[in-house]
């Protein structure tokens, strides 16, 4: 297994180049690039500039593990407005294009968003429809779309069987699950999601979750590895059981008030412990 971390974790005033140095020095093998979430990688970034990002990543001794985006929170594939859906599809297409340019074979998509306004059944139908089409585009590019389980925030595909059925309905070998072991909260157990989805897991996000804290205003339930309630020995054993040998990508909130680079070192060390199984 290889370790990666998102470029959106790089301290805001550091810039991409200095951030890459930090990621490498901390011991990561790769970096996850967040389309639209960082100044150096936007929808308007040209192919030439994307190739330049790849060159910088390679010069730092890293590779791009995958291309993610937070843009679908504002422009979901499940929107009622067909113009918003068209923009959402364009974002996925750009992710696929840039993944190819960056030498990666995986992207992360937040598939749908259930709201008071847009009900579950509509979201389900639209997401299946969109991903069937986008799955074809991804397959032709040799890229896998990993739909992230954002159980609590999306209010969509809450249980692992539900997610399994969804992927069955999409029925595309290029569409799987980007499994976030911190997003399951009180709705289940990450190790069971790993077991159930096995070969359909495209990438894995790592963070810990304080299951019993709940949400109160903007209070976060997320924390660094081993500080929360995830059962890490069980999660590691489940990875072995399903023979997951892919990228592990740290995705935590930047919570270090002082010495923000220290979070990179601590996270890399914690991931090494997880991979080695010394838990």
């Amino acid at each position: 297994m290889k370790k990666s971390i998102g470029d959106n974790m790089i301290p805001k005033d550091w810039g991409f180049d200095r951030g890459l140095e930090l990621v490498k020095k901390a011991g990561f093998d790769g970096i996850e690039l967040w389309l639209g979430d960082v100044p150096w990688f936007q929808m308007s970034t040209t192919d030439i500039d994307v190739r330049e990002l790849r060159r910088k990543v390679a010069s730092a001794g890293l590779v791009v593990s995958n291309v993610s985006t937070g843009l679908h929170w504002g422009s979901p594939l499940s929107a009622r407005d067909p113009r918003v859906r068209a923009q959402a599809a364009r974002i996925v297409e750009r992710q696929i294009e840039t993944a190819t340019l960056l030498g990666s074979d995986a992207i992360l998509v937040v598939a749908g968003l259930v709201t008071e306004e847009v009900p579950y059944n509509e979201v389900y139908s639209r997401c299946v429809d969109a991903l069937q089409s986008l799955g074809g585009t991804a397959a032709r590019a040799g890229v896998k779309i990993g739909c992230e389980n954002c159980n609590s925030e999306q209010r969509f595909l809450i249980s692992p069987r539900e997610f399994w059925q969804f992927l069955n309905d999409v029925n595309s070998p290029a569409v799987g699950i980007h499994l976030d072991v911190g997003n399951i909260h009180d709705t289940g157990f990450a190790e069971q999601w790993i077991e159930l989805h096995g070969p359909r897991i495209t990438r894995m996000h790592l963070k810990d979750v304080m299951k019993h804290r709940g949400r109160c205003g903007n209070q976060s339930v997320y924390t660094n590895l081993f500080l929360g309630d995830n059962n890490w020995p069980a999660i590691r054993a489940a990875m072995t059981k399903v023979r997951y040998d892919g990228w592990l990508i740290a995705e935590m909130e930047a919570r270090y008030r002082y010495a923000p680079d220290q979070q990179f070192y601590d996270t890399a060390q914690a991931m090494d412990r997880l991979i080695s199984g010394r838990l």
């Binding site: 009622r80 407005d81 067909p82 113009r83 008071e116 306004e117 847009v118 009900p119 059944n121 509509e122 389900y124 139908s125 639209r126 429809d129």
Partner: protein
């Protein structure tokens, strides 16, 4: 309107198969305006009425008992005239407006076409959300709440029976036209049909039973 037991059973059966209401009766046509309509609304009616609906374009419309026009985003005067001809010939026309999802220019063009050809007066779209409840109250053919569709097209004052409201805004109307009936929906239900919404399917079955 009070719903009879027979009507209720007909409507309830529609949850399983709306198309069953049309069995043994002359044609139901779905007018596909291609890029000029909400595609998932087309998919919704097709899924609800399969296999008893035939898809046609406006220049090839033939006489029929029921004509459904899903989620209009852009409707040409020629298409509006073809729809008007259907009502005059005796068809029940369900015209669903998707103009809440177009720009101002397309809305203006649709508004003019509907007024000129069908004497329908529509008002600029209203953004409903956020709101307290996500439902539109239908009073015909029976009283039911159906999901709203975010941006509705209200109706101006005109002749005919208003059959649905959101808060105090009239959203749907039923009117005799020639030998037929025109039913205008300012809030699309096609996407709800597509999402297998039970109440939307029952309501459509009940409407078709009156045709």
């Amino acid at each position: 309107m009070v719903m009879t037991r027979r009507e209720f059973l007909t409507a309830s059966a529609g949850v399983m198969s709306v198309g069953g209401v049309l069995r043994g009766r002359p044609g139901c046509i779905l007018l596909d305006l291609k890029g000029g309509c909400l595609r998932e609304s087309v998919a919704g009616y097709v899924s609800a009425l399969h296999p008893r609906v035939r898809i046609a374009e406006w220049h090839s419309l033939s006489p029929c008992a029921v004509l459904i026009v899903p989620g209009t985003l852009d409707i040409s005067p020629a298409a509006a005239r073809a729809i008007a001809a259907c009502t005059h010939a005796g068809a029940t026309v369900i015209l669903e407006c998707g103009a809440g999802f177009t720009d101002e220019r397309a809305f203006g063009a649709q508004r003019a076409a509907l007024l000129d050809c069908l004497q329908l007066k529509i008002e600029p779209p209203v953004q409903l959300w956020p709101r307290r409840t996500p439902y539109i109250d239908y009073s015909w053919p029976y009283s039911v709440k159906l999901r709203d569709f975010s941006r509705v097209v209200p109706l101006g004052a005109q002749t005919g029976e208003m059959i649905a409201w959101v808060d105090d805004l009239p959203i749907a109307i039923k009117r005799r036209r020639g030998r037929g009936t025109l039913i205008f929906l300012g809030s699309p239900i096609g996407p709800a049909l597509w999402a297998h919404d039970a109440q939307a399917r029952s309501w459509l079955a009940a409407v078709l039973a009156t045709a």
